[in-house]
Amino acid sequence: MSVLAYGVVVWLFLIGVYGVVTSKNLIHLVVCLSVAQSATDILLLEIGYRSGGHAPVFVDLPAHPGPAVDAVTQALALTDVVVGAAVTALLLALVVQVHKRAGTLDPNQLRATRD
């Protein structure tokens, strides 16, 4: 179970980065970056998971509630989601302007900064 759980993290991160590396469309590239980002969120949440545990919300609990999962990693993952959203939005704004000014959405056609 651990192998599958943590293997997903490695797979998602690398497939997202693969998408970034081979992308031919900037919007696709930004979304692939989000995929890689979600790998880190999943890692945090999995670290905090407890088998048979319930959410760290102590209301309307059954008679024998059992342990609660880690609330700290959930707070960290929340922060990461916000950060990811902010970066994605910024990148998309850049993509909009690139399309207007460079006339292309293909990252491999951008030749404005090179040696």
Binding site: F13, T22, A36, Q37, V98, R101, R114
Partner: protein, 628 residues
Amino acid sequence: MNQFSSSAVIPASVVVPLVGAALMAGFSGLLPRWARDLIAIAIAVATVVLTLILTSASAGRPMIYWFSGWRPAGGMVIGIDYAVGPLGAGMASLAGLLVTAALVYSCRYFDSARGRYHALVLIFLAGSVDFCLTGDLFNVFVAFELVAVTAFGLTGYNAGHPAPLQGAINFAVTNSLGGMTVLMGVGLLYARTGSLNLAQVGQALAGRHPDGLVVVAFALLAGGFLIKAAVVPFHFWLPDAYGSAPIPVCVLFAGVLSELGLFGLIRVWDTVFSGAAGEPGPRMRAVLLGLGIATALVGAVMALAQTQLKRMLAFVTMSHLGIYLIGVGLLSPLGLAGASLLVIGDALAKSALFLGVGIVQRQRATVSELKLRGRGRGLAVAGVTIALGALALADLPPFASAGGHALLATAADQAGVSWLEVVIAATVGLSSGAVLRAAGRIWLGWGAAEASSPDVGTADDAGDEAEDRPDITEDGQGIAGPSERPGRVPLTMALPPLALLAIGLGLGLAPGLEAHVATAAAAFTDRSAYAATVLGTGRGAVADTAGVVDSASHAVTVSGLLTDLGQVAAALCVAVVGLDRRAVRLRRALAGGTGWLRRLHSGLVGDQVTWLVAGLALLAALGGAALR
């Protein structure tokens, strides 16, 4: 416990710029332009004052401030702390000083700027202060991302040209991947140690032999910070971003942003990983020194090949970052002290360089070295700042960088790697030489009229398109298109670079500066003392300060001064060789020999991310070899 600080200055140093930025962003339309500039500058100055107070107040012992009232209980840390030490607070003050200079300069550099620009710059400052003062691992990540997000927006400011946009995209993609790796490293450490506090994590890892998880956590954390610090092979985004961001923003980047990456690296190493069993120090030193040398050399060689001034300065910045990594990578208090003093002195000089180039850009509407040949007349201020800045970067005594260089040399001697001196001298000579060559061509009119043959210095001038126009106005009422400004250079643009150089000179002349920096560095590198102070388990006396201070006080020697002058002479020689007609064949051969390196810098984000992945894998392997 009364050993923790309750000084309100500590939270104020981040709250003041944050509140100022938020109010600027929300209500910028209500104020006239001059009011916005003035308020932003006032807030930046206030932050400088606050952080300077912290620098001097924490000189004896670090000040630990617990937010939200949650102090450690039973040896377990509950809340987030700021662990204020003179090194961190000093770095924060430097950030504030550079932000102030950039804001003053921006008054006339941008034809118009709504409050959003000022807000972004002030938030950048707040994030930098947080990064330098915090003692919590996740807070380090949040500050890392905050500084990055503001930087992405500021890089793309000239959104009307493809180069800044491409630079911003490359910057954003590589650095957010860096943020992701930092977060993964934080997660791994949390899973192992159950804490997010630097001191507590360090205590939990101390004395234990690092296993695969700890090694990979280190590689991920270090990888993220090295991406930000633009160390080879994570550096490809830097010339794209720094070469096309607006000039005042380049000042922030070159002086603060990249150095924060190295600060993060050494901070995490000194508080978390340095206590691991198995004496990882010497082997890690080899890894970091190797990376530093590679960065310094690549930056210097590439700088020489540039003819677009901003891109050249970007590579000069990168080359000096390699030198700081060499200092930091010696993993000794004296090496850290040398790197810190170099960071301060060089930041002042580099900023002066960028601001000087900005004056040229504004008055001559181009930053191409070739197109500017001989057109420097009437821009004496810019010429003086560029020449002096380049010489200060070459460690011309008595600028502050010379003192830093002396400390670094002493540290290298003590570590038995005196040959590093040669490497440093070579790279500094090459990078400063490139700048002096440009200055010679622009102000003295030397060099060939047309670079008609492939030459070191005739790389495709892709930057022209982006830089040949003045910064575009915001309300759509300005002029687009290249235009010179034959008038006088405004005072708010001429004063900041001269002031920065003067401060660099003043610091260099200040007696005992080296000793102060060395004391600060000694406190910074002592892990167990830091942990004791933060966790409240003791007063945490710092070991062996006396030896370090003694070495520092005697660091400046006659032979050191001669080496510095030798570096300056080397830079001048490189400049002359770069311009002299008779050296054409030599330049052509060098261009041919380094063509492969220049072609690697393709500006394509796919390439850069591939190098990033390779670099992370390499770090994991090297880190494993060093830590196990």
